[in-house]
Symmetry: C2
């Protein structure tokens, strides 16, 4: 399996549509700029979708699930069994992202890339098993080259399914006990920051737990330090299957002209890896929310990203992104359906 | 007409429902607290609605429109005709709030309290004419006692209509050329702050325009200074009909146990006046967004309010509040529909 597809160029934004959308915004019956970021979103979606009147009716959510060998280091507040248990919960409609997807009328699929505990065949769950979790990256590389290629390609396939289905937006989510440890380690390597700055409580570690987590990450960074110059090496050595899949999905979405709404800390780290692999990916990314996980702020800054929501969420699963979908829908509705000054017979500015 | 009804006590929150909702949140399949403000909203709505499982399906929006005598001082970027023109635009579906109300499935009504330019009878517009706008408060009181009572009562009537219709949330909006000047003057009087701090660009004044606006407000504060100790006097002397109506609506909503989602700067000033009239009103108010209008921050701080959204909006009409409705709906759906750890067979924290 090869990764040559990662080098395919990203789709080009439609600047004529952006210009037309900007002109339309100036004619709508409101003071110019008074809808704030809702105006900017509509204009950006116009450029991404290549139309003066963008739509946000078909939203695709892929949740990538996988286990992490580094969980053996005691870096999570929850037992490893929860990864598989939550895959079932996603499929049966009981998880936060299940409820949110239904509310915002999004298509939801779960891609199981490798849980340690087995999951019986379930509707909505695609079994794309790579291995029973990654290896413990505090002791060696998390994945083989082949496993990394498989994970990236699982993400590509999800983005292509979404595109094929006519999705107007792609959201990636993730589930994997210990995956904030993996994401923090990747962020440290990509940003050359210390684990003290980027490790946080994740699902709910106390102060001592966060210290232990940072120490595990530091040990891993020391172990792999000679081999962290390339983003693909960083993903392979420190990654999770689901984080690599998210990076692959973002790359493929950008290559195929499908706008992406990035969720929280882990998704943003995957987005940073994708942008390091190919900088033009950045154009296709919108950012949903600022997570309560403390490292998120630095990752967002490195991506020059200003997320839409600040609600103190820190659940993952794509939940922050799904929560922001109504804002995108309202931005499109306002842009498309408001009357112009001329249509409404309203006097313009003095 | 009298204002004795303002002294009727506010409804009491249901603490048993709050406790039950908090206990439910702890059992849902997510790390405790990981849905951030969405958890707090659901719990707050439980206490307000008096049920463990709050609902947000019936939302009522009343837009109060009126003209302002102080517009004669040249304090707005738009001509006064726009107030009446926008009333028509609201009714015909072309305004931002019309589009938003339709998207979030809210009931929308417009209450015309007194435009200078006439508005023909229109469906969705209630003609509750008090006068052809307020008097210029830079030269004398904006309203008579009778007019203030009428405006407050128009707000009360709107809240009672909403309650009667089974609304689970009340949103007030406003339209009135020059009404940020009125709101800023009221805020100055209630907070004892200077117009330099609280006057802003409104619909789009330049720096010189803002200076002129602040000077007009300072002149009015000097003129009325001996008579600004009571919030009702502040509303009567510096108010707009629509701002007094919003204050009346918030009071009546609190008295009748109907939760309120407050919009932006002008609505928050009305909320501050209502809370000064009766402090318990505060319990019934949720705050939708932080406006780009610079004075909003201080008004929110005085109300100890943390709004849900920061999108740089500054349109009024109730548009920021309508934009936040989906967050309340998602908060309720998550709270009511997520599985508990026991239901889903998911392992709890280690």
């Amino acid at each position: 399996m090869n990764t040559d597809w990662l080098a395919q160029p990203c789709a080009v934004l439609n600047e004529a549509s952006r210009t037309a959308a900007l002109a339309r915004q100036e004619q709508l019956t409101k003071p110019p700029g008074s809808l704030g970021k809702l105006e900017a979103i509509a204009v950006q979606l116009s450029a991404l979708q290549g139309t003066e009147k963008p739509k946000m009716e078909r939203v695709h959510i892929s949740i990538f699930a996988a286990d992490h060998g580094v969980a053996a280091e005691g870096v999570s507040a929850f037992p490893q069994a929860v990864t598989a248990e939550m895959v079932k919960n996603f499929a049966r409609g009981g998880a936060a992202i299940s409820v949110l997807a239904q509310q915002v009328n999004a298509t939801l699929e779960v891609v199981n890339l490798g849980t340690v505990f087995p999951v019986e065949p379930l509707a909505k769950v695609r079994d794309e098993h790579i291995a029973a979790g990654t290896a413990n990256f505090a002791q060696g590389p998390a994945m083989t080259e082949e496993q990394l290629a498989q994970a990236l390609q699982a993400g590509q396939a999800a983005a292509l399914r979404a595109k094929q289905d006519g999705a107007q937006l792609f959201i990636g989510g993730e589930m994997g006990i210990a995956n904030t440890t993996s994401a923090s380690a990747i962020a440290c390597a990509l940003l050359q920051e210390s684990p003290q700055l980027l490790a946080g409580p994740g699902t709910g570690l106390d102060g001592k737990g966060v210290e232990r987590k940072a120490a595990v990450i530091q040990r891993a960074l020391d172990l792999h330090q000679a081999n962290l110059a390339q983003p693909l090496d960083v993903l392979r050595r420190l990654g999770g299957f689901e984080i690599a899949a998210l990076a692959g999905a973002y790359l493929a979405a950008a290559q195929n002209g499908l706008p992406v709404l990035v969720d929280g800390f882990i998704s943003s780290v995957a987005a940073l890896a994708a942008v390091r692999i190919q900088p033009d990916v950045r154009d296709w990314l919108l950012f949903a929310h600022a997570s309560a996980e403390p490292g998120h702020r630095r990752v967002l800054a490195a991506l020059a990203a200003e997320p839409l929501l600040q609600l103190g969420m820190r659940l993952g699963e794509g939940s922050g992104a799904a929560t922001a979908v109504p804002l995108l829908q309202l931005a499109c509705a306002l842009h498309n359906n408001m009357a112009t000054f001329a249509e409404a017979g309203v006097s313009d500015k003095l």
